[in-house]
Symmetry: C2
Subunit: 407 residues, 2 copies
């Protein structure tokens, strides 16, 4: 008898029939004696439909009002799933974000969770009910509806698991686990039975799309046991995310290749090389709530500096505009950019003890004539920014070079 938080994404609840399937899967866990809290996304397509409606009203939809609209997607799903559960004899009760209450800051469309009140949920569980919670949404201190950003339902699920001290948080997706890379790009990609939290964090942040990064951070911070499973097939234990390094002496150097097309490069050239310049450039970007990823600074000509960084592609135009204003203040020569780039990364705990991993990566890319525009490294990953037309090729040759197709 355990307490399990299950999260089902948009595809898993994409039709009335699929919602009934989710109800049957929940019933199975109940039959095994577990308490279950279910977190659901909007039915697939619904969020896009709502965003399109909003864009018919305003070129840049008001963020507060956009959240009011977007939050309805999950609200419909919790009602439908609760009905489906009741229809097969399982007592159930739905909660929107504000009903839980899951309170957040006021950063509309990308809010962060402050606090979760678990009183109502515990009461329902004690009374034998399945608790169904709308993912992706919360409420701020003013009582305004907020959303956590795309993929925020994963974060909701992990945060609820942490608040409830659940035994396991199961993320049901349309894949059956975490792979060495995207099988659509490299057919030889293998599913990993376990992956360490740190590797998963890098893989998620680098765009493997299986889990949203904030959910993995949350899981790590609150030591939530996290498992990725398929909602479309039966059987299989998916991939378990572990928090301790494998004791296996033969730890592979690299466990996966991640890639991310959601990248755009911004260049600020000919900046007078004075203290505080980086802050003046990146502060303006951070104030606009735009996430900066890779950053490099090079020495330029005659006491000036060239400064480059990457942002999500959707923020590209906005960032360029912002920096054209900053440009005058800091006396930079020019601001330009490129939104046809992508990031490819190799990730692995084993890198710590294996030398030469980065050089193997650079050599492999060079042999195919792929030019590296930026490099960033951490203890367990190496990322390169390249022209997006080489994305598939780079991923395939790196997967082979690090022998990820071999068990």
């Amino acid at each position: 008898m355990a307490l399990i938080v299950q999260k089902y994404g948009g595809t898993s609840v994409g039709s009335p029939e699929r919602i009934k399937n989710v109800a049957r899967r929940v019933a199975k866990a109940r039959a095994q004696g577990h308490d279950v809290v279910v977190v659901v996304s909007a039915m697939s397509g619904e969020t896009n439909r709502l965003v399109a409606l909003a864009h018919e009203m305003q070129e840049f939809p008001d963020p507060r009002e956009l959240d009011v609209i977007l939050a309805t997607g999950e609200q419909v799903t919790i009602g439908l799933l609760s009905m489906a559960l009741k229809d097969i004899g399982l007592p159930a009760k739905s909660y929107t974000g504000w009903q839980v209450a899951l309170t957040t800051d006021s950063a509309h469309t990308k809010a962060r969770i402050d606090h979760i009140n678990d009183a109502k949920m515990r009461d329902d569980l004690a009374q034998g009910r399945v608790v169904v919670v709308a993912g992706f949404q919360g409420v701020d201190r003013q009582g305004d509806i907020t959303t956590l950003g795309r993929g925020g339902s994963d974060t909701s699920a992990v945060a609820l698991a942490a608040a409830l001290q659940a035994d396991e948080c199961q993320i049901y997706t349309d894949v059956d686990g975490v792979y060495t890379t995207d099988p659509r790009v490299v057919p030889e990609a293998r599913r990993l039975d376990t992956i360490t939290f740190e590797e998963m964090l890098e893989l998620a942040s680098l765009g493997s799309k299986v889990l949203q990064i904030r959910s993995v951070e949350f899981a790590g911070k609150y030591k939530v046991r996290l498992r990725v499973l398929s909602s479309l097939t039966d059987g299989g234990d998916g991939t378990l995310i572990t928090f301790e390094e494998d004791n296996n002496m033969e730890q592979a150097a690299v466990s996966g290749i991640a890639f991310d097309k959601n990248q755009a490069r911004i260049n600020v050239r000919g900046v007078p090389d004075k203290p505080g310049i980086a802050y003046q450039i990146l502060g303006a970007v951070a104030n606009a709530n735009i996430e900066v990823d890779m950053i490099i600074q090079n020495v330029g000509a005659e006491g000036t500096t060239d400064f480059s960084f990457t942002v999500p592609r959707g923020d590209y135009q906005h960032t360029l505009k912002l920096l054209q204003e900053v440009q005058k203040n800091i006396g930079a020569a020019s601001v330009d950019g490129d939104d046809t780039v992508c990031k490819v990364s190799i990730v692995g705990l084993g890198m710590r003890s294996h030398v030469g991993v980065a050089s193997t990566m650079f050599r492999t890319l060079a042999e195919e004539g792929i030019n590296i525009q930026m490099i960033s490294t951490s203890e367990i990953k190496v990322s390169v920014l390249i022209d997006e037309k080489y994305l598939e090729l780079a991923t395939r040759i790196l997967h082979k070079a690090f022998e990820l197709d071999k068990a």
Copy 2:
């Protein structure tokens, strides 16, 4: 400079273009110096779509969860309208039912309003904002989402106007006022410039569909100045609902003909004629939250009574089932019914001072061979229940008999 509550129904907000039209109409009122609170329904078709989804989950959808789902319809509209207002430079802020807060009892799918907190709205108005409120929905004391029943947005609007002591509550619909009867049935029908509250109440409750009955009751109770206007055409002052009798000496006997197809007749025959029987029959129906309209009781054979009444057609099967259980307890001979009936009514304050209005009605119907099944009367109306196949014929001949086509 006045405070106006405007309500727009589903057709008026049925597409992005129509929502923009509503925004322009609101802007016009703002340009005239008025403060404006806007109440909106779900986009036309949306509520039906959500109800259909719910019915795919459960034959009889759970009422609490149904309200969770239905409330999303208006929530989308308030977000979209607020965006449209901002897009043309009008500061605006949206509120769901729970955000206002509009508190109700817990009778899901047909809740009644308890209290409205006007603090946030007054604050916004003082800051020059247009306040956009989701109609049809509220929140109960447990924090559960409730809805007020079909047409409940009218009630929301009038209740908000009462709470804010607004100068006028304008109900925008797809008709441009209140007519002597439905122009689709009688092309000679005329629009009334004013109608008394009492007449409107009878016309609404009898199914003229222009305004929902509870909204008219509310308006009367709180003396809200209520006006019905067209959202589709420009110009015209619609029909003003007044609370004082016209001083006009030549008050017409009848001001309108209403009809209502949403009727089903239930007969409980051969009931032992003892005190408390009516309560035992109607109490069971009332407990199921089913509204009873016309009631007649006739003397039957050998100390028994025949008891007939009408209910909304959607509650017909449910009522029959309920009474089959009650039948044993009260020893009634049989329970049966008919759901192919309709109600036609003549309404007019002038009836008070004109004799012979009812007899003119009965004679007119008799001359066309239309059989009257039930009769009910009040001070200002006479209603008859007839076979629904005669609805159009009866309305036309009564409209002519009372000379409603003549100004």
